[in-house]
Symmetry: C2
Subunit: 262 residues, 2 copies
DNA sequence: GCCCGGCATTAAACTATGTTAACGATCCGG
DNA sequence: CCGGATCGTTAACATAGTTTAATGCCGGGC
């Protein structure tokens, strides 16, 4: 299995891919985006980048590695709200409200671009089309969260796990970090458990079932997963990728209206 | 028990209360809001106002009654994402993306204001402060959804139910539809089950436990609930109301920037 | 006044998931 | 090369939650 597919693509490429889904971006936008993303930083694994309850003055873009967004109960139980992969923004709500309502933690070594809140505001003003593309990409998070909620509420452990794997496959493919049916999955079973609302042991059992049914192959050493029968997995999960890329671009009228402000 | 507390307050009053949390609104805004909300309509109970997968060209504001936002699995299982109560907006994401990713259904007779998408865009342009207040109020939905997700993933049936009741108490108080510790709860146990990710039978058992512990009183006939010991209920639920009203107003710089667009 | 449909309630049997505990593999630092 | 830490794996047992089914209450139509 090959690693580091990401290295074959320049930073920013997968971001454009994602943003371009919503809005056509021209050369000016690309240049502006390059400027915006000039301040990159490396983050060690297991480091809190945004902390629940604290203030946060920056918008972030993850360009390498994995992170999670989670909340804790007072007795230490943890629920992971969602995974953040390259091309995902985070920290906007925290910046707007001056307080984060969840914690973002790196799971691996990561690279993030930090965009000062004021700079983002400036982009919204001077390059509304680009700014809006970023906003859409963040608003879309809501759909992912909603589908995750459905999983926790109404899908069995098997269905839920299958659904998460299909979601990750689709999202990673969008930024070219997954092949047709395989990708690197740098998650321990404990992390999966916290995301799926299950115990570690049951995650283990569930993955075993998926393996035994020939649906997936999973090598814990290499942290690589092969989804042998994605269609069957999708059927088990009642997975439909629509919620991920809500194809239609946002009402162009809104863009025009905002651009033409006096 | 008195009913129809709402009737004692003019439409728009609780909305202002909510919007005012974020941004100070002056007389101009109030007048504008009045105009914006001029088109009201009545909706029967159990009517789909926004349908998953369909287009939707309006932003809605619920001013009377209850509604839910839900998604269905292909075998008919239903998960309720959240409750919509007077003062809540819905339909914005659907309008922006030209497609709704969940269904909004009335649970009781409702009154809604329908705001054509273009009008909202115009407000964003001409009264950015008001427009942004509406946007904040919608963004805040994300926090509620996240907390709901934590409930489904990591709270027991008892904790989860307690948490939902506390959330509703707090949200209804904000729009003066709840007293110090009581409110009308026009939900069947089936609806609660679909929201809590539980079976009907287990919801019944759980409510009984809460009743027997002297935490709540619930009369299914009158659909009225009294929360006798809100503090204990909050403790069981690990409930903290912070996520509901994220006190700090949004970065004023953003408002200024948008207002000063040329 | 009667019947019917929707909802709440309960019990009993069942199942999915959690808990505890043990063991094995791999990696890493000394 | 050893010893400890982390993670994955499994089995046996405990429990929370589901399913099925039966009963009762209430309100509405006729």
């Amino acid at each position: 299995m090959r690693r580091n597919r990401a290295a074959a693509f320049p930073i920013g490429d997968h971001v454009l891919r994602k943003l371009g889904i919503f809005v056509h971006l021209d050369a000016t936008h690309l240049a502006e985006l390059d400027r915006l993303l000039s301040e990159t930083m490396s983050v060690d694994s297991l480091h809190d980048i945004v902390t629940e309850g604290e203030s946060c003055k920056h918008l972030f873009l993850l360009t390498r590695g994995w992170a999670v967004r989670y909340k804790l109960l007072s007795d230490g139980r943890r629920q992971i709200l969602g995974f953040i992969i390259p091309g995902d923004f985070f920290g906007l709500r925290a910046t707007l409200f001056d307080v984060a309502d969840d914690t973002v933690q790196s799971l691996t070594d990561c690279t993030v671009c930090r965009i000062p809140g004021e700079d983002f505001v400036a982009v919204l003003r001077d390059h509304p089309r680009l700014g809006m593309a970023i906003v859409w990409s963040i608003v879309r998070e809501y759909s992912v969260l909603a589908e995750h909620l459905v999983s926790l509420g109404r899908r069995s452990a098997l269905e839920r796990t299958a659904h998460l794997l299909m979601e990750l496959l689709n999202r990673l493919q969008l930024v070219r970090l997954a092949g047709e049916r395989d990708f690197e999955l740098p998650l321990t079973q404990e992390i999966l458990a916290d995301a799926l609302g299950l115990s570690i042991v049951h995650v283990n059992r569930t993955l075993r079932r998926l393996r035994q049914q020939g649906l997936i192959r999973l090598d814990p050493q290499s942290r690589w997963i092969i989804i042998d029968r994605p269609d069957d997995l999708a059927e088990i999960a009642d997975f439909s990728p629509l919620y991920l890329d809500q194809g239609t671009p946002p009402a162009d009228s809104l863009l025009k209206a905002i651009r033409s402000q006096h």
